[in-house]
Symmetry: D2
Subunit: 293 residues, 4 copies
C-alpha cells in the first residue's frame, strides 16, 4: 500500500491481533475493537466506542470466521459479546469491510446498504497461504502424536485440493512415503506428476492397512466404519476437513482408532503467518478496488 | 481394460507408433495404418485398406495433432498423403474415434454423423502427463545449450500453468534458483507456497537482466523487443508456447539473444512416455464411456 | 537375522522397551530386565534374576547411554538402581554385549575379561538413523514454539555434520529458507551443492539478525554473548549439541533470547523409530561377527 | 582475493580458457599460454615466451589433468605440443603452481625444487563442485538417449560417493524412482535417510532387470557379463567411473546392452561452471597459503 489508511480491526483471534500489529508496522493507523484481552504494542490503539470508530475509518476488518454462533461476532479476545447485525447497522454507505466466511444473508444486506463487503475465503491467494499453514500444522500434529518419524512413514493424504497438494509436497520433503488420493483422472495425473503414489478416493478399501498416518482433507464422509476397520492398529487419523468432517467419529471411537479433528490450525500453530496472509489479501483487495492509491 | 479390443492406429509420429506397440502388449488387437515407415514388432499388423479396416475395429486412434495442414492427415511415418475428410467418410455410425487438436468443424461433423469423437487435449490427465514430458524436454534443451549447470543457475519460468508448474518443480529439484511469474494473485500465492521467487508477468522489466535462462510458457507476446533488450548477454530463451509463441523472434535475432522455439517436445524427447500418456488417456475415455467392459 | 537368538534387554528408556518388542516380533527370544515399569506384549518376558539370565543368553543389550551417573545403569523404566560394574561382573567370557556411549574404562575391562563389547555410537548407520529422528524432532520443536510457519522462515543450521545435513534437507523440503554454516571449504561446497545458502561458522557476526530460528549442532561455544546480541527479537534458538552445548545460556537468558537445549530427541519424539535403529544396528553387528548365522 | 595477482594459465581445455576469463574479470592480470586456438576477450593476453612469462607471475595454472600422455602437457586448445618436464624446468624456487591429477613423481620433483605444487583433486570443495557438473551431465546424457522421461523412470545409481550422492539427489528432484547402492552399512543408512531405495553393491543380482537406466560411479568392475545378462532390453547404462570403468564393455557389446562411458563430463557439458570451480579452488588454496593477501 502506498498510501496510509485508517483500519479498524474488530474481533477475531490471535490472527486478527497479529494482523493489527502488522498493519500498524506498515505505517497505517490501526484501531482495535473487541480485542481487549490482547496486549498490543503502542502503535495499535484500542477503541471502545464502535459508532465513533466508524466515523473515521477507511477499512473495517472483521474476523475469520465472522461469527461463532448465529449473529454472534467471533471475538475470543474480547470480554464482551457483540451482535454482527448491530455492527452492520453502524456501517455507512460505501464502507469497505473485509470479513471471513460471510453468509449469503450478510452479502445481501451489504448489497442493499451499499457496503463494499469482501470475504477472504473467496480469494485464492488467501486460501493458498492459509493452506500452507494448515498443512504445516497437520505435520506438527502428526509429529507430536506419532512414536515414529514421518521420515519413512507411510502417509495417505485423502483429497488433492489446496491442502492435499501442499501437505503431500511437505510430507515428501520430509522423506515420507506419500500416497495421495483423488477421484478425477486429472488430479490423479497431477499426483503422479509430483511423484506421489496415486489412489482413488472412491476405492480405498484394501489398501488402508498399510498406512501409519492418514490425513483427510475432504469434507464428506470418506472414512466410514467399514473402512476404519481396515486401518492398522496404531494408525493415526487426522481430519482437516471442515464440518461435517470426513470420518465416522463414533465408529473410530468404537474401533479404537485414534482420530484428531484438527480445525482452525493456521490460527493455532502459526498466528503470525496467518496474520500475514490476511494482511496481504487485504492489500490485494484494496489495490484491486483502488482504495489507498 | 478388462476386455480385449480391436484398435486401428492411423497416422501420427513416433508417439502413435509407440502407442500401437503398447496397446498390443496389453493384449489388444492392433492394426497400424499410414505408419508404413515404422518397423513394428510382430504383435502389430500393418493395414493397407482403410475401408476394410473400418469394418472390424472398436476404436480408431488418430494423430495428435490430427492434421498437419488443412485436411491433411498428420502422418510423417507414412509414405502417402491422406485427406482427413475422406477418412471421416469411412467412419460408421457409432464409431469411437480419438484424436488430438480436433477443430470445431470436425466435431460438428462427428455430431451430425453419430461418431463418438474425443480429443486428448480436452483431457486434463493427458495435458498433465504431456506437460511432464514437455518440462523435462525443456530442461534437456537448456542443459544442452548452456555452458553452465542448471544447478545454481538463475531461471525464470514465465507463466504458471501446467508446464510452468512442473518445469519450476523439476528445476528446483535440480538445484536451480527458480523465479516463476504469473498475473493472478492466486497463482502468485502458489508460486510462493512451492518456494519459488514470485514475479508478475506484467512487470518483468527491470529484473530480466539477472537470469541465465528464461522459459516462456505463455502463448502471447510477452518478451517484446523492449524487454529482450534487458536480457543478459549469453542468456538463453526457450519458448515452449504454441503459436504465435511468446517472443518477438525478429527482435531477438537483431539483438543477438539466443531463442529456441521448442514445439512438440514430448514426441521428440520421450516418444515412449508420450505414447503411454496417450494409451492411459484412451483407456480412461473408453472406460468412462463403457467401451471394453 | 536368519537364526533365532536369545536376547536380554537390560535397562534403558522407551527405545529399549520398543527394541525388546521389535526383537521378539522377529521371532527371537527376548527377556527384559530392569524395565519393570513397562507393560510388554506377551512375547517379551520379564526377568528378575540377572545372574540366572546371563546363563542362557546370546546377546545382552544395554542402554544408550549405558549409564546416567558414574556406575549407575541408565534405567528410567526400572524401580531399582543397578551398578554397571556389578552387571559386568556377571558377564562370562565371550559374552556379546551391545551398549551405547561406553567409556574407555569399560572397553578396557571388556578387553581384559574377553567380553565382546560394541557401542552403537561407533556405528555410522546408527548415527545416521539417529540423526534422522533428531532432525525431525528439532523441526517439531521449532513448529511448536514458533508463531510462524517454517515454510518461508529464515533458518540457520550451524554445523554440517550428520544432524546438520539432514536437518537442512528436511527444512528445505518444508520450504524454509535454509542457511547452513561450516568451517571447511569442502563442507561449504556440499552446502552449495545441496542448494542451501552457505555461511562460515567462524564469521556469523553481522548476519544473525536475519534468522527466525537458529539450530546449533556444534558441541562447542559458538553463540557467545556477543553474537547472541545480534539475534533478532523473537528468534528461537534450538541447541542440539551434546554437552557443553553451543550456546552461552546465561547470556541468552540475560538478553531474553529464547533457547531450547534439546537433548536425547530421538527417544522423546520417535521412540519406535529409535528402537528400530537400535535393532538394525544390532543385527548388523551380529552379522559382521558371525553371530546368529 | 583482495589483492590483484599475476596468473599464467597454461594449457588445458575450455575449462582453463573460461578460468582465464573469470580470473581477469576479477581484476587479476592474466596471461594465457598454450591456448592459442581460443579467442579471449581483451582482458586476457596471450603469451608466447614461457621463460619470459615465468619471470613475472605469482601463480601458474596447469590443466586438469596436467598431462594427456606421459610428459605431454594436456593442451587441446594449443597448436603445439609441450613437455611437462620442460615446463617444470622453468619454474623458479617458491613458484606457486596449481594443477590437476598430478602424479607422485611430479610432486617429488616439486619437493626437491622448492615449488609450491597443489592439485585440485586433493581439494574436497573442488571434487564436490566438479561432481555437481558431472551429475548434471549424466542426467543430460540419459535424457538425450532415453525415449522415456527420467520422471518416473527406475534409476539405479551404483556407488554413493560424491557423484552418487548428488546424482541421486538430482534424479529424485526430477521425479525419478531412485535406487542407490553401496557396500557399507553407513552409506546404506545415508541412502535411506535421503529417501532412496537402498541396494547392496555386492548383491545386485536379481534386481537389475527392473531398471530403465543404470549409472555406475564405482571405478572397479561391478557390472560383469553375468550381471549384464540380467539387464532389461532397452536399459541404458552410463558409466561415470574413471579408468578402468565399472562395466565389462565387451560383454555389454555382445549382449546388446547400450553403454556410454562418460568421462570428463564437467568440461564438456558445463565448461563455465567447471571454470568457476577451478577459480574458487585456486582462491581457497592461495588464501590458505597467504598468497595475495
Amino acid at each position: 500500500m502506498e498510501q496510509q489508511l485508517k483500519f479498524a480491526v474488530v474481533g477475531g483471534d490471535m490472527r486478527s491481533a497479529n494482523l493489527a500489529g502488522l498493519l500498524a508496522s506498515d505505517g497505517h493507523s490501526v484501531r482495535a475493537y473487541a480485542l481487549e484481552k490482547y496486549n498490543f504494542a503502542e502503535n495499535v490503539t484500542k477503541a471502545f466506542d464502535f459508532a465513533e470508530l466508524m466515523k473515521r475509518v477507511d477499512c473495517v476488518i472483521l474476523p475469520l470466521p465472522i461469527q461463532s454462533d448465529p449473529d454472534v461476532l467471533n471475538a475470543p479476545l474480547s470480554l464482551n459479546s457483540y451482535s454482527v447485525n448491530e455492527i452492520f447497522n453502524l456501517f455507512h454507505i460505501g464502507q469497505t469491510v473485509i470479513a471471513g466466511k460471510v453468509g449469503n444473508s450478510l452479502f445481501e444486506r451489504a448489497g442493499h446498504n451499499g457496503i463494499l463487503l469482501f470475504d477472504y475465503l473467496e480469494r485464492e491467494e488467501f486460501t493458498v497461504a492459509n493452506s500452507v499453514a494448515c498443512a504445516e500444522g497437520a505435520i506438527q500434529l502428526a509429529m507430536e502424536e506419532l512414536p515414529i518419524t514421518l521420515h519413512n512413514a507411510n502417509c495417505l493424504v485423502i483429497g488433492f485440493g489446496h491442502i492435499g497438494k501442499l501437505l503431500s509436497h511437505y510430507l515428501a520433503g520430509l522423506g515420507a512415503n506419500v500416497t495421495a488420493s483423488a477421484r478425477k483422472y486429472g488430479d490423479l495425473a497431477w499426483i503422479r506428476a509430483y511423484g506421489y503414489n496415486p489412489a482413488n478416493t472412491g476405492s480405498l478399501s484394501g489398501m488402508l492397512g498399510s498406512f501409519d498416518v492418514i490425513f483427510n482433507t475432504v469434507p464428506s464422509r470418506i472414512l466410514t466404519a467399514e473402512l476404519l476397520e481396515e486401518v492398522r492398529e496404531n494408525c493415526l487419523v487426522i481430519d482437516l476437513a471442515s464440518k461435517p468432517g470426513g470420518i465416522d467419529f463414533n465408529a473410530a471411537k468404537r474401533l479404537g482408532v485414534k482420530v484428531i479433528w484438527a480445525l482452525s490450525l493456521p490460527g493455532k500453530v502459526a498466528p503470525v503467518t496467518a496474520g500475514i496472509a490476511m494482511r496481504d489479501t487485504i492489500y490485494n483487495i484494496l489495490s484491486e478496488w483502488g482504495v489507498g492509491k
